[in-house]
């Protein structure tokens, strides 16, 4: 509104609704999804990350539909500029005198197509990675693990490209806002722009907007419903892995003193050595009879990490050099990398009690599936939300560290 106080050569200026509510909702929900997905890219928040991703995909699908039926300024037909026009507009903007468009300008239109395209590709590669690496989602089983990992890399690369596109988009909005002396960000919130009289106004489309909100809330409620009904004894598990091979004797003997670590967590050569050394099993004599040793060894070798029964099995096995035979899961590089951010304070807390207690955090440790997002770091009840908030805040600060002031800058007293 401040820009309107400037002297303007056009005598008659009126306000008209240019962006209908669905367009604005789409815009800001897409922004929220992108930020949320970025902050939850750690495996631990996979369920939140997936919700943001699915919502983003749904929003893009909606926008494609809305681009056909959405009324003036929202329809693709209203901003179907060619490449030459976009480049021409950009050159004019660089010279400082771009023509003013009421709806999307030609360069901005290409930005929108680029962002919609990138968002779609990110959603597709995300689903491919989810299906290939984790074996979840609608595309489960379509790709194998190495292919899924490739899709994952592509997914991350595309996200960075999209972040770059967002930066260019923001720069464009800023430049145009300054050159035309108008608040484009404000317009995307209120929907209104200053326009010459007689300009076509967009309808508000409240019912569509209401549907978007209700659908999003309903989807969020059903997606996260498990958290509402969980109990401390039965925490909600967003992902249930496929059931792994089991063996009663293995579970009884190994599970008597510690968690029955699933065979998929170490290669067969490690289990064989461990079972041969059963008289000095980490300082204890297991005193197992030969037939028990044989049965357990066979079960473990048959389902060891090489069989790639889980994502963790595959990644653990990949991280072990073939010349090495680790006897502890915690010695494998994948395990070390995955747990590098866990502080000593957490390891030593009474509820965790050391690295041997997988089940302290991994809700599915007993099943051996070690799904992403099936983990909770135990904290005191009254602190849990604060800790989670701090963690998210630190992550946000790390990713967007260029926003914070240099910490050691001396005051300029001159």
């Amino acid at each position: 509104m401040q820009t309107q106080t400037e002297e303007n050569p056009v005598a008659e200026i009126t306000q008209a609704r240019i962006w209908n509510i669905p367009v604005r909702l789409f815009h800001w929900m897409l922004v929220s999804c992108f930020i949320t997905a970025w902050l939850t890219r750690d495996d631990r928040y996979l369920d939140i990350h997936l919700f943001a991703g699915y919502l983003m995909a749904a929003l893009i699908l909606f926008r494609l539909l809305w681009g056909v039926i959405g009324g003036p300024y929202a329809r693709f037909g209203d901003f179907a500029f060619g490449w030459r026009e976009a480049w021409g507009y950009t050159k004019m903007a660089l010279k400082g005198c771009p023509p003013r468009f009421i709806g999307h300008n030609p360069a901005g239109s290409w930005g929108i197509y680029l962002l919609l395209g990138l968002g779609s590709l990110i959603a597709i590669t995300g689903l491919l990675a989810l299906g290939g690496e984790e074996g979840h989602g609608p595309l489960a089983g379509l790709l194998n693990r190495p292919q899924g990992a490739l899709a994952h890399d592509l997914h991350e690369l595309l996200a960075w490209v999209m972040l770059g596109a967002v930066a260019v988009h923001l720069l464009g909005v800023l430049v145009e806002s300054i050159l035309h002396r108008e608040n484009l960000i404000g317009s995307m919130i209120t929907g209104y722009k200053s326009v010459p009289p007689g300009t076509v106004s967009a309808t508000a489309s409240r019912p569509v907007a209401a549907f978007m909100l209700v659908a999003t809330i309903a989807a969020g409620f059903s997606w996260f419903y498990g958290y509402l009904v969980e109990t401390p004894e039965q925490p909600y598990r967003p992902f249930i892995g496929q059931q792994l091979p089991d063996n009663a004797l293995w579970r009884e003997e190994c599970g008597a003193c510690h968690l029955a670590f699933h065979p998929s967590l170490l290669p067969a050569r490690s289990w064989r050595v461990m079972m041969q050394q059963q008289a000095s099993h980490f300082g204890e004599d297991l005193f197992l009879e030969q037939d028990a040793i044989d049965e357990i060894t066979t079960f473990m070798a048959d389902n060891a990490a090489e069989q790639e029964l889980t994502e963790a099995a595959w990644k653990i096995n990949q991280s072990i050099p073939e010349t090495e035979t680790p006897l502890r899961i915690t010695e494998t590089q994948y395990w070390i990398d995955k747990h590098s951010e866990i502080s000593m304070q957490i390891w030593e807390s009474p509820k965790v009690n050391g690295k041997v207690n997988c089940a302290a955090c991994h809700l599915d440790a007993d099943d051996g599936t070690f799904e992403d997002a099936a983990m909770r770091i135990p904290v005191e009840e009254d602190q849990s939300s604060t800790v989670l908030f701090n963690e998210m805040f630190q992550k946000a600060a790390r990713y967007f560290s260029f926003n914070s002031a240099p910490p050691n800058r001396l005051d300029d007293k001159g």
């Binding site: 599970g255 008597a256 003193c257 510690h258 968690l259 300082g283 204890e284 004599d285 297991l286 005193f287 197992l288 009690n353 050391g354 041997v356 207690n357 302290a360």
Partner: protein
């Protein structure tokens, strides 16, 4: 027919106790055959609470380190934190019912706690003590 069912049901309740008595008395008979006995619950209890010094770490170890002093309650594995079900047969009827299991745990736990295997006398006393709980 009905009577048969009653008998079977009654047996289902009695059987575990019979088996338990069997496993313990059979083992104690074995120990006696090796020259040990008679067995006393008091001696078993004394051994249960007796501290032993671990040669390597220099730390004190007792049966109670993991099983705690209240055997009707669950204990906790010192290193892994794994819950150990109560030792007292009154609180955990499955306890001391399988000869194989008793033998295995005597080897494992005597070696860890005492630094050696237990003697037949010690094992017989411990069983007498645990049986009484």
């Amino acid at each position: 027919m009905k009577r048969k069912l009653i008998v079977i049901t009654a047996l289902m309740f009695v059987m575990p106790m019979v088996v338990q008595a069997d496993a313990i008395s059979q083992l104690q008979a074995d120990y006696q055959a090796k020259g040990a006995g008679p067995f006393s619950a008091a001696a078993g209890e004394a051994l249960w609470n007796k501290p032993f010094k671990d040669a390597k770490s220099g730390k004190e170890r007792r049966c109670t380190t993991c099983h705690t002093t209240d055997l009707t309650q669950a204990g906790k594995h010192l290193r892994t934190g794994k819950v150990i079900e109560p030792m007292a047969p009154s609180a955990n009827p499955k306890r001391l019912t399988k000869i194989k299991k008793i033998k295995k745990w005597f080897v494992r736990n005597c070696k860890w706690t005492l630094g050696r295997e237990c003697t037949a006398q010690e094992k017989g006393d411990l069983l007498a003590f645990l049986k009484s709980l």
